[in-house]
């Protein structure tokens, strides 16, 4: 029962992360390869607040702080660098994630914060995992999903498609691509930040190792597997991030390789899977668009 709760919670969190990345990648073609950096920021904000004053800082406050931190930082980063060539931004994004990792580790060490208390919401205690999922995680995810779906139906989605298709045409039609790019990037990053906070509250601790380069790559791949620009695709991506490693780990523990190296073997298989999928399934499993190749550089 406990395990099931863990799996469900992780599923929701990862799906939300994939969805948030989708805002940046599929709407405005920003390859935010360091997306987990914002997850880390939200995570650390929440942990810092909860560790210092658990009773003073209530739940909404924590989430708000995380969201603001993510939004501000991404806005700064975005305005400064989104005029650049795509490739430069990728490296910048990755470097950013590494910096966040470094800050996390130097703040509290490789083990991160531990033994944080879960705050209460409207008087409801969140100690039970299922209650937490039902009261916090699910509603947040439904909200995120609703925003995504609504966004796809608004004119703003058409304008984003225009910016991706032909920036010069967009400019001549009076659209300023930079504002839209930064806006979507902020939305994506603030969401990741919020989910970082939620994940920290759920786990009652932070784990800086989640923000590694490999995890970033896997998140990006999950977006591709599940499919870009689609809510179902994001959920599928989350499923892949949760289920496949567990399955692989379970089956591999019976293999001659033994349980010791299951994690690496699983990664190896995921690497192969990634290469294969990119080659033969460019739309992902249920994606609505293919990857935007021609716009890869300015």
């Amino acid at each position: 029962m406990q395990l099931l709760a863990h799996i469900t919670a992780h599923l929701i969190i990862y799906s939300a992360l994939v969805l948030s990345l989708s805002f940046a990648v599929s709407k405005v073609n920003i390859w935010s390869v360091g997306h987990l950096g914002f997850f880390g920021i939200g995570s650390v904000c929440a942990a810092a607040l909860l560790a210092t004053q658990p009773t003073l800082y209530t739940f909404p406050c924590t989430v708000l702080v995380a969201a603001t931190a993510g939004a501000l930082l991404s806005a700064l980063l975005g305005f400064a660098t989104l005029r650049l060539k795509q490739d430069f931004f990728v490296i910048l994004s990755l470097a950013f994630s590494e910096v966040v990792l470094g800050v996390c580790i130097s703040w509290k060490g490789p083990a991160g914060f531990n033994n944080l208390a879960r705050p209460t919401v409207l008087g409801i205690s969140l100690e039970d995992d299922w209650v937490f999922i039902g009261v916090v995680l699910l509603p947040f995810f439904i909200a995120a999903g609703a925003v995504f779906v609504r966004f796809s139906r608004m004119r703003i989605d058409r304008v984003c498609a225009l910016i991706q298709a032909n920036e010069e045409l967009a400019m001549v039609l009076g659209v300023s691509p930079l504002y839209y790019k930064v806006g979507c990037f902020c939305l994506a990053s603030a969401t990741a930040s919020v989910w970082g906070a939620l994940a920290t509250i759920y786990a009652r601790s932070t784990d800086p190792n989640q923000i590694s380069i490999e995890s970033n790559l896997l998140l990006f791949s999950a977006l591709l597997f599940g499919g870009l620009n689609s809510l179902r695709g994001s959920i599928l991506g989350g499923l892949l991030l949760v289920v496949v490693p567990s399955l692989l780990e379970a089956t591999l523990s019976y293999s001659p390789f033994g349980g010791n190296y299951a994690a690496e073997f699983r990664q190896l298989l995921m690497g192969c899977l990634l290469i294969v999928v990119v080659r033969w399934m460019p739309k992902g499993l249920v994606g609505a668009t293919t990857l935007n190749h021609s716009r890869g550089g300015r």
């Binding site: 490296i91 470094g102 190296y261 690497g271 990634l274 190749h293 890869g296």
Partner: protein, 284 residues
């Protein structure tokens, strides 16, 4: 003090070698080859294995470099060639390759650091004691960088390599074997990564993560220097090496190195979006 200086220069040199290899593949195929960083690790571990197989120093290095070069060619053939022209797909494919290489190495060798006992003996140069690995690194730098500059600026093949990224068919029509050229470039760039990996492993330590650690510095270096010029990479590399050593000396850990590099990267890109030595592209 001079020790720090030498240390800085050596690190800078090795990062520049990696950056050079990376810039080569980027110029040719116009995508970020993420797996390049893991080839550093592969090179280091291959040399380690050769050492365990009782090969002496020089053959180990040669074998490791050549094998890594060939591995680079194979990777290009299998993971990038079928996707040519689709930059994001190639980029993601390189993710897959990177993960693959990383986990393979961890599976084979475990995740603890090891030392690479190559070129560890001390050498006296100009009154100072250096590890011979450091000397080798400096020599490589002084030889390879001008050599690559010469090849890329002055020879027909260098010209063709640069032209390929703009106009594949045009170059092919001139009778130049494009695919083979691309394979050559991958061989050379992977070899450079391997050499850097061997030397870094010898001077510091081998670990499955070393490729990513140094690789990110090399990436940042290439972006700051801009993709247009080998001389730019060389000089920026030297400065970067000195800076990294200085930061580590002051703060005692790697974490601030990344923060400082990131800060400099952002500032440079704000002021000079094409990189310090980048080819000036027409802005509007």
């Amino acid at each position: 003090m001079t020790d720090l200086l030498i240390n800085g220069v050596v690190i800078g040199v090795l990062i520049a070698l990696v950056a050079l290899g990376f810039a080569l593949t980027f110029s040719i195929l116009k995508f970020i080859n993420f797996a390049h960083t893991d080839l550093i690790t592969v090179g280091g571990y291959l040399a380690y294995s050769c050492g365990r197989l009782k090969l002496s120093v020089v053959p180990s290095v040669i074998v490791a470099t050549v094998l890594t070069g060939l591995l680079g060619v194979v990777i290009e053939r299998l993971a990038y060639r079928p996707l040519r022209g689709q930059r994001l797909s190639m980029f993601l494919s390189s993710f897959g390759v990177s993960i693959l290489l990383n986990s393979s190495i961890t599976l084979c060798f475990g995740s603890t650091s090891r030392t690479l006992p190559i070129a560890q003996d001390a050498v006296r140069v100009a009154g100072r004691t250096l590890a011979s690995a450091e000397v080798i690194a400096l020599c490589l730098f002084l030889v390879l960088l001008p050599l690559s500059w010469f090849i890329f600026r002055k020879t027909q093949y260098g010209l063709a390599a640069r032209a390929i990224s703009e106009n594949w068919d045009g170059v092919a029509l001139l009778g130049i074997p494009c695919d083979r050229l691309v394979s050559c470039v991958f061989f050379v760039s992977s070899g450079l990564a391997a050499l850097a990996g061997i030397l870094l492993g010898s001077l510091y330590s081998l670990s499955p993560q070393m490729g990513h650690k140094y690789g990110i510095w090399a990436f940042v270096l290439v972006v700051v220097a801009g993709f247009g010029s080998i001389f730019g990479i060389a000089t920026t590399g030297l400065f970067a090496g000195l800076l990294i050593t200085a930061v580590m000396y002051c703060f005692g850990s790697y974490t601030f190195v990344n923060a400082v590099l990131f800060g400099i990267l952002t500032i440079v890109l704000l002021v000079r979006p094409d990189g310090l030595f980048g080819m000036r592209l027409r802005r509007f």
